[in-house]
Subunit: 169 residues, 2 copies
């Protein structure tokens, strides 16, 4: 169905939603929080590469031993939960783009499973706190996972996003 | 607590588990399935870079429009759910490594939120089916998300995983 442009949940004209499944299939634990300088959405960097701010990942002490070995790692993936995002948008018009595109062609937080992904530089680890550079989320965002970044499998310098390259021309 | 080496769920000697939280904090929809040639764990490639097999992502047709624009993208992140993995391991000894390490220093499927992440090459899209190269999971693995890979923020060719580099020497 096409969204009502007056919808209270902030759908923009032309955006399209799907009917959500009746049931959930799996469940998540929040394993910590990400502390950033940003408390309102409009303050957040447009993407994780746009800020050099030092941010802090506060891990639930229950998982402290799981950091063992991470001190040898230069970059990590953080997975976090965009708990305020709509989950039913299939075609959307992000504020800073003119054209409507499919959810899976975008990095928008609004998606069926609002899991955000950032590659961050790991500066130091002190107890259950990680100091990192490269997140773009609101202060207090729930953390889902930390994974080491392996350049051999995760780095693709020549990857292309055609719609984005055309926009930049 | 230290794991009982005879534990029926396959903990290895020296591995350590945490007590899981009493409640879940958020919930996921499975949005499709990944079809691969591998039906037993020991058949799977050790990591996603080790196979050139063509695999298929079958998206639930409910989300079909959300693929719009993805045909211009060369590489995507797939997030998928490792539904058979333990979630309580904090120190673990993967089969192919000698040393015990923290869960967050590893890409093992066993983690508090068993969300796997692979960078895959997108070969083609036909209807709700994506042909990709670069997954390492069992046939039928539940899909959680598809995201476009932006080299500008996601590619870090000089990232280092110290413990892994030392092992390779």
């Amino acid at each position: 169905m096409t969204a009502d442009p007056d919808d209270a949940f902030g759908i923009r004209p032309g955006e399209v939603v799907a009917e959500l499944p009746e049931r959930f299939d799996a469940a998540l634990y929040f394993i910590g929080r990400i502390r950033t300088p940003w408390t309102r959405r409009e303050q957040c960097p447009k993407n994780p590469g746009q800020s050099d701010a030092l941010c802090t990942v506060e891990l639930d002490p229950r998982w402290l031993q799981a950091l063992s070995g991470l001190e040898t790692v230069s970059h990590v993936f953080l997975l976090y939960w965009m708990d305020r995002a709509r989950r039913d948008l299939v075609l959307q018009s992000p504020r800073h783009y003119e054209t409507r595109r499919g959810t899976f062609a975008l990095r928008s937080p609004a998606r069926p499973n609002p899991i955000a992904l950032s590659v961050v530089r790991l500066i130091r680890i002190e107890g259950n706190k990680l100091t990192v550079i490269g997140v773009d989320c609101l202060d207090g965002t729930p953390l889902l996972d930390i994974k080491p970044y392996f350049a051999s499998i995760d780095s693709v310098p020549d990857a292309k996003v055609g719609w984005h390259a055309e926009k930049a021309r």
